[in-house]
């Protein structure tokens, strides 16, 4: 659209490219809006004078724009206009320079970006360290038709962000990055059909099914190592409606803009394979009202009422902050969950949501370190669950309003949870027994789990009954650690054993006295704590030994496998 044409050969050595020419406008957008606002405010009456008689103007109140009158009176118009032109010229010039100096490229090893005129900045995200590729669009950017591409890497604050690209080009760039990452890190991503224990399974949903839909849709399932072919971005990265369908027919320019504005960015192949999960608005609103955050706010409000009745009426003043918290909570949760859709693409899992500002996050397979399903007490009658994940790129403090904050399902029924977990972990892949085991772990009575010890009720209270830990599929490379816990908020944590950093058996003081122990698996920094408290000491030791053994075996299998496949001709030379 704007940058140099995409070079087809060699496949993954794309040249330096520029960002969209309008991007400085948007990055300095606020400043320009302020300037325009001042000019318009001062010219308001001038403009009106042209259309209305002067008595109407006088009726509107005194004229505040002394500035322009002064300028006219002192005959400075020429100089002011010249000065204005000069300022605009300088701004445009600097923006143009900044745009000229902001470039990015995708190579066989990394995504790189360069920017800055005086202070040059060169950022590099190695492909095998990429944790997710996100498309972010603020409302203003959506209107202008621009999109920010953000490449998240492992490690805090390690990201390359490309501000901004045209929306369709951004989608293409994302595909190119994901394809390059898949090619570079192929052994690291755990394709389900390559199971080193020989536990080969048919993977009906994992491979992108040949999509018989439109021509443009098939472009989304290319073979790895072949980047998206150059061509018209409109055909390669079509806009998709909320049903996951590509908007049909050819469109005029304006129509195309509107479609981009309303592009839900769902992978078109997901609809065909049935790997598309959405959240209806009514359920989202109900879930926010019944959620535990809202419950806490209601409890505080009741406490204030009680205090004002039996204490001093001044306590009612406390309603103001509580009300503010409630409103901001509602808005942020609503905005984050609105139009939520999770789809399975050829190269990863795509999660998107947003009301005004939208964000879609694409997580390549094998980047998920832990999954947690939660059910606050208010959701239990409806059987709703929320699912969140830990990946290496997320920082805990990442709390912007349009960020999805590790949530991969704001609210969903148990079927949705099962599908989401399967999609994220390649768990089951449609196999009925695994799906049943997962559902049993979520809502069942915990058979097959090592439960809490005899005297654990002192520590776990109502959560004693649900508490349990289990190593699932210990024999295969897909082994996972599952922990059930909670009463007020029921949870199920699933950690692929492949991703465990270390395992721990702890005996804090109270546990020691009661003859109990805690078991914990350490993952990268994230919101999920893979820990089980109150296990009987003897049992905990048995589980610890098994867990440590499984971790070593699964991870050494993986490293052998990496060694085997990542031979030079595939790993490096093939991409150079």
């Amino acid at each position: 659209m704007t940058a140099d044409p995409i070079a087809p050969e060699p496949p993954l050595e794309l040249p330096w490219r520029r960002l969209h020419p309008l991007s400085p406008l948007l990055r300095g957008g606020l400043f320009l809006l302020v300037v325009a606002g001042i000019i318009v405010a001062n010219l308001r009456d001038r403009v009106f004078e042209v259309f209305f008689p002067s008595d109407v103007i006088d009726a509107m109140g005194p004229n505040e724009s002394d500035l322009i009158d002064y300028i006219v009176a002192e005959r400075l118009v020429i100089w002011v206009l010249l000065g204005l032109l000069l300022v605009i010229g300088i701004i445009v010039g600097i923006s143009w320079l900044a745009w000229r100096f902001s470039t990015f490229r995708i190579t066989g090893e990394a995504v790189e970006s360069r920017r800055g005129i005086l202070f040059r900045q060169h950022r590099r995200a190695p492909l095998e360290r990429i944790q997710s590729v996100n498309l972010q669009r603020s409302l203003l950017a959506r209107i202008v038709g621009l999109t920010e591409v953000e490449v998240q890497t492992a490690g805090q604050g390690g990201k390359v962000s490309l501000q901004y690209l045209g929306h369709r080009e951004a989608k293409l760039v994302r595909e190119q990055i994901l394809l390059a990452a898949a090619a570079a890190g192929a052994p690291a991503t755990l394709a389900p059909d390559i199971d080193s224990t020989g536990d080969a399974q048919p993977a009906p949903t994992s491979t992108p099914a040949p999509v018989p839909a439109t021509d443009s849709a098939t472009e989304f399932a290319p073979a790895p190592a072949q980047p998206a072919q150059p061509g018209n971005p409109a055909e390669l990265a079509p806009a998709v409606d909320f049903a996951g369908q590509v908007y049909g027919g050819t469109a005029s320019v304006l129509d195309g803009r509107l479609r981009d504005l309303a592009d839900f960015d769902i992978d078109p192949s997901a609809r065909e394979t049935g790997m598309l999960i959405k959240v209806p608005v009514t359920r989202l609103i109900a879930s926010i009202l019944l959620g535990s955050e809202m419950l806490a706010v209601v409890v505080i409000a009741l406490a204030i009422v009680a205090a004002s009745i039996w204490g001093s009426p001044m306590a009612l003043a406390g309603f103001l902050p509580v009300g503010l918290v409630m409103v901001s909570l509602l808005i942020s949760q609503f905005n984050r969950g609105f139009n939520f859709a999770l789809s399975r693409a050829a190269d990863g899992v795509r999660v998107g949501a947003g009301l005004t500002a939208t964000m879609t996050e694409t997580i390549p397979f094998g980047r998920v370190h832990a999954v947690e399903a939660l059910q606050p007490i208010g959701w239990r009658p409806f059987g709703w669950w929320k699912v969140r994940i830990t990946t290496a790129g997320h920082s805990v403090a990442q709390g912007g309003q349009n960020k999805l904050q590790n949530t991969v399902l704001p609210v969903g029924r148990i079927d949705d949870v099962l599908r989401v977990v399967e999609t994220l972990l390649h768990e089951g892949d449609g196999r009925e027994d695994r799906r049943a085991a997962l559902s049993e772990a979520l809502v069942g009575d915990g058979t097959g789990f090592v439960g809490a010890g005899r005297r654990a009720a002192w520590l776990l209270w109502f959560g004693t009954r649900r508490a349990g830990i289990r190593i699932e599929d210990a024999e295969s490379t897909h082994a996972s650690l599952r922990v059930r816990r909670g009463w007020f908020t029921r949870t199920l944590v699933i950690m692929p054993i492949q991703r465990a950093q270390s395992v721990q058996l702890g005996r804090p003081f109270a546990h020691h006295l009661l003859g109990l122990a805690t078991l914990q698996a350490h993952t990268v920094l994230g919101p999920i704590r893979v820990q089980m408290r109150g296990v009987d000491l003897e049992q905990a030791r048995v589980v610890f030994d098994r867990l440590a053994g499984t971790v070593v075996r699964v991870q050494s299998d993986e490293s052998h496998w990496r060694r085997g496949t990542a031979s030079p001709n595939v790993g490096e030379a093939g991409l150079e």
């Binding site: 095998e128 058996l505 003081f509 990268v524």
Partner: protein, 165 residues
Amino acid sequence: MTDTEWPTPTETWQRVSPKFAWADLALNLLLVLVVGVVYLLVTTLSDERLPLVVHLVFAGVVLVMLINAVFAFRRVKAIGYVLREDDLLFRRGIMFERVIAVPYGRLQLVDVTRGPLLRALGLATLKFVTASVATGVNLPGLPAAEAEALRDRLVELAETRRSGL
């Protein structure tokens, strides 16, 4: 007791140098001293008589810290590690005992540091860093030569068993 046998029935725990207990003790006593100085400052500088609670709190804090300091020898004895075939086993703590198993492939880096106190005793601290901050495998008070040998051994083991993130 099974406490001494599990989880390594065949191998014995490697311990850190007993000399480290003296460093631990000295540091703890230094802290007691600091609290004592603060107490003296508070009592002498305040114009009015302080309530009894303040004296009691200070006395309690000093007592707990003294007991904690005396446990230095027991605490240092509780630190141990074993290099198993595929993972490092580490344990620490009496009141909050922890046993941690880290596969060698998870090693991101090994850190050997020597503070002034430890250097005087000819000791060093070895830190085993993984991608998880919670792992926290920290071997304080190894003899300097042993710490460096252990570091090289760990790096070598990690090289042969490298896995992803």
